[in-house]
Amino acid sequence: MPPQDYTKNMPSVMNALEVCQLHKTYNNGVEALKGIDLTVTEGDFFALLGPNGAGKSTLIGIVSSLVNASSGETRVFDISVQKQRSQAMAQIGLVPQEVNFNQFEKPFDIVVNQAGYYGVPRRIARERAEYYLGKLGLWDKAFRMSRTLSGGMKRRLLIARAMVHEPRLLILDEPTAGVDIEIRRSMWKFIEEINAAGTTVILTTHYLEEAENLCRNIAIIDQGRIVENTSVKELLGKLDIETFVLDLRAPVSQVPVIDGIEVILRDATTLEASIPKSKSLNRLFSRLEAEGIEVVSMRNKANRLEELFVRMVHLDEETAA
């Protein structure tokens, strides 16, 4: 059965997640979160980005009650995770970073049992298991031992397991890590469908183009602090210089000098041009044409979000130092 559209007949959009002054210090003294404030509205497709060890998984752990917060409050659809854990957990589906199902069980049993833990009657659980395993292309593997599944299949099984109780908030912690591009695309198609039907999605990923393409809002976390929390559109608007790689028809020996645009020669047939947003690309092409340089193809040097991400995290490190 398709997931329900929860946004229908709703008076106003509420917060799917509210995190207030969240601190976490582990027993070994590591301060993973240093007062995080974060809000994700219902129906959003939200990216949580940050370098390794930034505190993303700790934050997700606290939201999903796998990690105890040192202080602060977490609310899921206005239900306190700390005070009303059961009610809050019923709203969440979690796709963890690591495969954490019993690999000696069959996918069908794993999904049906998970539904049972959320109070879904067995008959309905079986129907949903068939639906979600089918949607994720795993139905033909449903009764095989799960340890025989490939890495990509295991990741999809984690998604099916997280969706079987049809949560209002789906949290995906690096769900596509190590998954090939074709399967990754099919996974995102499924997640986009789920989001379109009203499920709020929070995603952490290292593939920043995923966040750029899929998410509407974004938070960047670094060293236990939120360093940016805005819409993807606004964030990309902050990118004042973009670098393009130009492949040339014929080799050139000299780099054309263009006022306000930095051009460097990477090799005889490749130029790299860094252009401020205030300058027009036409200027670059006019000049290249005047010089008799023919461009056969052009691409962004790096993912735009990746550039911003690296810059922000780097800035944060400098501030901390």
């Binding site: 957990m89 019923a90 969440i92 109070g119 109780h165």
Partner: protein, 261 residues
């Protein structure tokens, strides 16, 4: 609202854990059900049929009859404890315990599910051993209510104890230390093979500190009508241990000791 948290959803959650546990026990029956039956059969043959003939009577009855309740209790204790430690620690070690920890199930339902699974295995093994015993000494039943209540309560007490062991265990070795160095000596010295009344004064007083003595004797009363200890004291001790262990388990589970960071 995606899922309503209610008594019914908790009941479904409890059933799910129990069904999963029973399925696991039955799937690996050659590891869970058969070995204790073979071990106990050997005890019956060696201690009951061969040595027992030379021992003669114990507690006013043939030695073979005397050891039957103790051996059933021995298998119930070890299987109840062993089932929950291996199952819950296995879930912790393989990280699939997280499936339960992120779910809406409260700690007491998780505990009840695992304890019920352990009790199922303990009773299944206990009944199988009982059937084997019947081949050697026939069926005896003095008081059905005492028999079944002591059997259930003992299985629950050792499941709870095993659960604590599993919570604190960090490696597989940690779940075999208590059974080897604590449980086995206490069980063997707990009046399985002998009547504590045979022990000299001080040794008898020491033996009576061992809670397993009360469990074995109360169960022996249920089957054969003889006991070295007061039946009511046995019930009080078992209930007391059960209550304390239940409280400890629930506290550990609620705080997430060994489970949540």
């Amino acid at each position: 609202m995606s899922v309503e948290v209610s008594a019914r959803s908790y009941w479904i959650g409890y059933q799910t854990i129990l069904i999963k546990e029973i399925t696991r026990i039955l799937r690996i029956w050659a590891q869970t059900l058969i070995p204790p039956v073979i071990t106990m059969s050997l005890y019956f043959v060696i201690f009951g049929a061969i040595i027992g003939r030379r021992v003669g009577e114990m507690g006013g009855m043939p030695y073979m009859d005397f050891i039957v309740p103790g051996l059933i209790m021995l298998s119930v204790i070890t299987n109840s404890y062993g089932n929950i430690t291996s199952s819950f620690f296995g879930a912790k070690f393989g990280k699939h315990v997280e499936e339960l920890l992120v779910s809406p199930l409260p700690p007491w339902i998780i505990l009840a599910g695992y304890v019920s699974g352990a009790v199922f295995r303990a009773l299944a093994v206990g009944i199988l051993v009982w059937l084997v015993a019947a081949v050697f000494s026939g069926f005896h039943m003095h008081n059905f209510l005492v028999t079944i209540s002591i059997l259930l309560m003992t299985a629950i007490v050792f499941a709870l104890a095993g659960f604590i062991n599993a919570i604190y265990a960090r490696k597989f070795d940690d779940i075999s230390i208590i059974p080897t160095f604590v449980l086995q000596p206490l069980t063997y010295l707990g009046g399985v093979f002998f009547s504590v009344s045979l022990l000299p004064g001080v040794a008898q007083q020491i033996a009576l500190v061992n809670p397993i003595v009360y469990m074995v004797n109360a169960f022996r009363y249920g089957l054969l009508g003889v006991t070295d200890v007061s039946l009511w004291l046995a019930y009080a001790i078992i209930l007391g241990f059960g209550a304390v262990l239940f409280f400890v388990c629930l506290t550990l589970l609620s705080r997430g000791v060994g489970l949540r960071s």
